[in-house]
Amino acid sequence: MFSSLLLVLLIGAVAWAGAAAGFASLFGAALPYAATVIFIVGMIRRMTYWATSPVPFCIPTTAGQEQSLAFIRQAKIDCPSSSAGVFARMFLEVACFRSLFRNTRASVRGRDSATAGLSIVYYSSKWLWFFALVFHYCFLLVFIRHFRFFMEPAPSCISFLESLDGIMQTGSPRFFWTGALLLIALLFLLGRRIFNERLRYISLLNDYFPLWLLIGIAGTGVCLRYFDKTDIATVKIFIMGVTHFAPVSPEGIAPLFFVHITLVCALLLYLPFSKLAHMAGVFFSPTRNLRADSRRTRRINPWNPPKQYFTYAEYEDAYRDAMAEAGLPLEKQPDKSAG
């Protein structure tokens, strides 16, 4: 946990020092170009890597009643037999984290008077679902909000989004709730890993690092907006220069801005090579994205090996006499002379 925190701090420190020492263009322009290219190429390669292996069998996890008899009601989304059902299932999975919503917490008690002994109680446990959802949506909204730096003039939908986001407060700069919720959700996700025994036991550097990285990104972003206020106009001119492949001098922009940019680049670089690739991977999941119609439609396995089995003819050869004695019908009568 600490090594991943140190790693994030180190990245930040290098960016700060670099920007302060006059290499701001390196961190503000060159690195983002490289990171974006590696991110795009990396994600395409990762998806190609998955896609090049076939899905030989139809293995959806059926999470409800199958389609069978007319008088039995099918769970059309949880056990979808149509493409529309699969679409709905995937939509709920991706947009609402349907599976995580089912989460329960099992508590094993040694003594319980009601059952005169052991009991396991299953509590509904929606915290993980809730904060995961908060994190992902806030991250998405913050991401979209940032487009006002990339586009001139900023599209009206983004301005509208901002006005919603800032609805909680008057004053300047307006307080954006997405930024705050993003940080709270991230701290919850980090807190689970630290304080929950099971989570602590399974967590790796690869789990803490992206959390610290995201906390770093959100933290520097919040600082840039409310505390170490940056001159937004200058930043926008700089970013517009970068996006139009005509970088301008980064003079006058605080080093913290480059820390922010560098951490974002680190995230882009890390993403295709790590568990964060789940953002694309979830769409590939064969237990979710297949129709539960395996008895209705035959699925073809491209590497289906040839059939090799103990045939009936071999079987009858092995047991012909006994079968004849038991009065079973035979393809070939036993050889009397051999008997």
């Binding site: 998955w50 090049t52 292996s53 076939p54 899905v55 030989p56 069998f57 139809c58 293995i59 996890t61 059926t62 409800g64 009643q65 389609q67 069978s68 008899l69 039995i72 949880d78 995580l100 089912r102 989460n103 329960t104 099992a106 094993v108 040694g110 009601a114 059952t115 005169a116 002994g117 052991l118 396991i120 995961a132 099971r198 399974i202 967590s203 550097l205 690869n206 789990d207 090579f273 568990k275 690739a277 789940h278 979830v282 064969p286 237990t287 539960a292 008895r295 035959r298 699925r299 396995n301 590497w303 289906n304 090996p305 045939t311 092995a318 047991y319 006994a322 004695e325 079973l328 019908p329």
Partner: protein, 549 residues
């Protein structure tokens, strides 16, 4: 069984998490924690790679010299064959939602039984060879190299997973541990590691047609005996058609139901039901196994054992297949069979119930119908005369088997049937039934005696739910639609909820079934006295439902 600690002790004795990192903890192969290894000659006759004698408790497992290369190559090969494997290795975020969904974890508190960590055992090896971060950072990024202890660990935990898929229901990315366990077992078989309880039935099934190795004449004999028992109970001896050509339907069920108590009563139920319907069907001594222990071994072995069904359907020139009550059998039939061994032979047609005319559109391609679907349809169309009062001495609950629930979605058909044949039906708590059902603790070939304590631990969530309804509602019976359940739930019930009996669904159907011309029933299918049977109530009491034909 005698050596098992009391349930309270079993719970209290679950150890805390180890202090060491999981990468540094090694499994201990003490008796009772592992299944006996497959015999060398079994593996040889099945042409499994690298057959050898070995002992899980020994230090040296006698792996072939180039074991590491074999495993690395096999792993790379499986990655190319299964997108699921690549994806499940890559995208787990270790959110931990799966942790307490696993019955093995709840029962043992062994962190490596958390589905996430069970997968990490393999994922750590994947990282070293197939990811950049793992190559760069090694152990720091959770990567490790193959060594013999890792192989042992994979074996240990691949056989403490029943491929029940409960974790996959809760995973936000649908990561399916069953898929990972299946592939780990495949890898282990590449270096000659398998277990006796699985490979022996596989061998039998390969060469005699069924797991128990019942030869054709004995198979006939046993079924005839069961038909005799039906006659004792009802006065009617049901037909027992074998290997009959041109029958409309070929009926296939797990051979365990022909052989083992209480499955035999379910089998008698089938015979009586089909006789009453005057169904044009046949049994086969060649395709006399519905179950498929090959599916606990390798995909190819599953395919091989499954191939007999369509082959026999073709030889006997039947129109469609009807499948009995079984769990993993239906995982294979529903999600694999058509891909493995389809398309179906030309003589087969989409299944139509000859009694009701219902077309089973959902089985249009595999042409195999589940008996619960078939019977539910009969009951819906009032084709059976039923006297559920004959089951009034039981208060039953229903155990959803993992595979029909999460690999098929067969949830309401058996309930529909059960409610029609039993007046007293109580569900277990909602987090333990339907798609959230808990495994019996011994599926996927782990129903062997030598790991009984482990089975009871893994069966704890199911046992607890059963105990709950037993104490709260007086439940004294548990119906199920799985042959392995019928073997594993009686000891489980005995241990966690003594006094609860276990049966298949069609045993209860046949108990309630009023057959044309039957004698007055005084016994149930187990030849136990029916309470109230010596009263004056006629067999076709007003409680009887349905019109008959």
């Amino acid at each position: 069984m005698a050596k098992l600690p009391a349930p309270q002790m079993l719970i209290a004795s679950r150890p805390d998490f180890p202090d060491q990192r999981w990468l540094d903890v090694k499994p201990e192969f003490t008796p009772g924690t592992f299944c006996y290894p497959a015999k060398k000659d079994t593996m040889e006759i099945l042409h499994m790679p690298n057959p050898h004698e070995w002992d899980p408790a020994a230090d040296d497992w006698g792996l072939p010299e180039n074991w590491e290369k074999i495993l690395c190559d096999a792993f790379a090969d499986r990655l190319e064959k299964h997108r699921s494997l690549k994806l499940f290795m890559d995208i787990c975020v270790r959110c931990g939602a799966c942790a307490d969904k696993c019955h093995f974890f709840l029962g043992t508190n062994d962190p490596k039984n958390m589905p996430v960590l069970r997968a990490e055992l393999l994922r750590s090896l994947y990282r070293r060879d197939h990811t950049m971060l793992g190559k760069l950072l090694g152990r720091k990024a959770g990567a490790r190299k193959w060594d013999k202890n890792v192989v042992k660990e994979l074996f240990y935990y691949a056989y403490q997973c029943t491929e029940c898929r409960r974790c996959s229901l809760f995973c936000p990315y649908g990561i399916d541990t069953a898929e990972i366990t299946m592939i780990v077992r495949e890898l282990l078989h590449e270096v000659g590691l398998g277990i006796h309880w699985i490979m022996d039935p596989v061998k039998n099934c390969s060469f005699t047609g069924n797991h128990l190795g019942i030869q054709p004449h004995s198979f006939v004999e046993i079924v005839e005996m069961l038909a005799d028992d039906c006659e004792t109970i009802t006065g009617i001896r049901p037909k027992t058609p074998f290997n009959k050509k041109n029958a409309e339907i070929l009926f296939i069920t797990p051979s365990g139901d022909v052989f083992a108590d209480p499955g035999i009563y379910t089998f008698m139920g089938y015979l009586m039901l089909f006789h009453e319907l005057d169904l044009d069907y046949t049994l086969s001594t060649y395709a006399s196994e519905g179950g498929n222990f090959g599916s606990f071994t390798t995909f190819n072995m599953a395919k091989k054992l499954n191939a007999k069904m369509y082959a026999e359907a073709e030889r006997l020139n039947v129109k469609w297949l009807l499948g009995g009550e079984c769990g993993h059998m239906w995982r294979v039939l529903n999600q694999y069979m058509d891909t493995y061994n389809g398309p179906t032979p030309a003589n087969m047609i989409p299944p139509v119930s000859p009694v009701t005319g219902t077309v089973f559109h959902n089985a249009a391609s595999t042409k195999m119908v589940h008996i619960a679907e078939f019977t539910a349809d009969l009951i819906y169309h009032n084709k059976l005369k039923l006297d559920p009062g004959r089951n009034d001495h039981i208060i039953t609950t229903f155990h959803d088997s993992c595979n029909p629930s999460r690999g098929m979605g067969l949830l309401d058909e058996p309930r529909y049937v059960l409610k029609a044949v039993c007046n007293n039906f109580i569900e277990m708590p909602e987090n333990t039934i339907r798609e959230q059902t808990f495994c019996c603790g011994a599926g996927s070939g782990l129903n062997t005696e030598e790991i009984m304590e482990l089975r009871m631990r893994a069966g704890m969530p199911r046992g607890n739910a059963l105990r709950y309804v037993q104490q709260k509602f007086g439940v004294n019976h548990m119906a199920c639609i799985c042959a392995i359940d019928r073997a594993t739930l009686p000891p489980l019930a005995n241990y966690w909820a003594p006094g609860v009996t276990v049966s298949g669904l069609h045993e209860l159907v046949a108990n309630a079934l009023v057959m044309k011309g039957e004698t007055k029933r005084t016994m149930d299918l187990r030849q136990e006295d029916l309470p109230g049977a010596d009263g004056d109530e006629p067999a076709d009491a007003p409680a009887a439902r349905g019109e008959g034909e």
